[in-house]
Symmetry: C2
Subunit: 379 residues, 2 copies
Amino acid sequence: MKTPRIGAIGGGQLARMMTPPAIHLGIEFKVLAESEGSSAAMAASQVGDYNQLEVVAEFAKTVDVITFDHEHVPLSVLQALEAASISVQPPSRALAFAQNKLHMRQKLSEFNLPMPAWAEIKTAQQLDEFIAEQGGVAILKTPIGGYDGKGVRVVRSSSDASDWLINIDDFGGSLLAEEKVDFVRELAQLSARSVSGEFAAWPLVETQQVDGVCAVVIAPAPSASEAVLAQTADIAEIVATSLGVTGVLAVEMFEARDGRILINELAMRPHNSGHFTIEGSITSQFEQHLRAVSGLPLGSTAMQADHAVMVNLLGVDEKNTFVEHFGTAMAKHPVAKLHTYAKSARKGRKMGHVTVVADDLDFALAQAKGAAAVLLQGI
Amino acid sequence: MKTPRIGAIGGGQLARMMTPPAIHLGIEFKVLAESEGSSAAMAASQVGDYNQLEVVAEFAKTVDVITFDHEHVPLSVLQALEAASISVQPPSRALAFAQNKLHMRQKLSEFNLPMPAWAEIKTAQQLDEFIAEQGGVAILKTPIGGYDGKGVRVVRSSSDASDWLINIDDFGGSLLAEEKVDFVRELAQLSARSVSGEFAAWPLVETQQVDGVCAVVIAPAPSASEAVLAQTADIAEIVATSLGVTGVLAVEMFEARDGRILINELAMRPHNSGHFTIEGSITSQFEQHLRAVSGLPLGSTAMQADHAVMVNLLGVDEKNTFVEHFGTAMAKHPVAKLHTYAKSARKGRKMGHVTVVADDLDFALAQAKGAAAVLLQGI
């Protein structure tokens, strides 16, 4: 056996962060990037448009397994690769559910998995009826294309979504309406499933969002009951198995005020909620993803210390790339692990993150947030 | 401030392992490799002969700091770069002592640092006198070019070294004779010194050699007394400061049966005795080296867990590249961190290593040695 050659479609920070474990393991890792100078440029072996089958097929010839930095590659392209006996992990039949939130809800319903109340919406009348059932407010989502809070809005009447309803064909003919969950916090269950069927879950984490974008992750989720831990690990395994997911799977969940655990979103790739695993876990989500998609046995998901805290570095303006303040942040916070993604500065953009691993949670929180504050504000 | 662009001369495993922290920090990292397909090929921006000033000068134009994968770049080349105001870290005046063991002994003597008895040898008579003083046996070393046990031999008479004595001009006109230390174990003190003068040491480690080559590293060194820990950390700081070392410094030492701590060798770069820091320490030696040579503040050198054990993967034949047995090793040892350097197989070659980090030393030893055994023997 040789180590597999793994190719990732997409040159973002997830492909970038797959590179270090590939180097350590001695796995040949290549990236099909959208453009020169991508975040994953060091591993980029080809630049091209992932919407074009001929581009992706050319890339696929150079590797043994195709995987992903993002979930936007057209299913038709992936199905064509699969028809040519190319290993695509996760396979198109699984990715279909990550690409379409309505299909995801429909599929998960078959397995009685806990979800917010939801409905497929084709007309203003259907939406108004759902809103009425939900006590006057609902969440409306475009089934495809949304991420980081985009393609999602709170609606109290169909008139709040008249622009989407008029153009509903642009969204595949349907919108997805969901219960606006009264939650006490958000959780994420990260796991991996190998092409061989092996499954491993990391500890449940708490994710804190600001304006719909992940801001802070605390691992493990503080004060989670044994019952919740068992339920969330079960949910992840059922989702991974029933949808045929391979590689890393993130299940984002609400912990409702009434105690229900409800599935919010799925991501079939390494995920922001798992960046803490680089230093916080024996096996990082990026190494595990490489192992899982290539059929290597999975590594231990145990924590390296009692706690890990990750804070995202979101762009503050068009200038601050955070590296300006590296010296100050490093000097003040020698335990903080700084990560930047070599992206140009843009307000709100995910440009890096900071992780602190420690046996004391308050210390980890203070150090991670302190280092992030220095990088964001220079103080 | 921008992050510095760092260039390493040499495409071996040390440059390879500098790449992951450069990716995480967002530091632009380039390598001048000896050949295509080097261990550090992913970061190689140029291929050429580091003995040629014009090659190295061309490389130096593309980076802000020059550092090293190995200590073999001619001093004349480095001095020419320095004369052109290029930042070379560690500087040539420090590297001179790493390149010449006799000069190192002479320099360290000025600071009363503890060393085996030693003598500069120019003639057979001088060598026989030294051997007689040492009770009939000594270690003889070529001052330059030796590593991993090469250029070192045990001598009981000048006739054991007649080939070296006849060709003594090839070794700069002198050999280095040293006391054959009766040691209970070997130790290594890893540290880093920044271009700003900041200094940080990792915990003292025990190194176990087989046939002169590092086989196992245990961190921290078991049962080291407070006095020894204080002494070894002091030694490292005095060496780093007095020789003007920047970047990572490894001081290899003997713990003599009579209790003396004696300096054996120095390495002015990340070192095999510090590979455990990748997973075992908050800041790895490779990240710290990048920080130190570029003037960024140093990171914490605290352990991630109570113990770390590293086992080298030395080539067994011309075929086994270890990746053949990855699946078995990963399945049996899910806590083991496997590293391979993408080198072709050769008996005795350093081709990879395994690290296990744990709060239980016996567990770490068993897992690391177990995983290495699978990789070496397939069982």
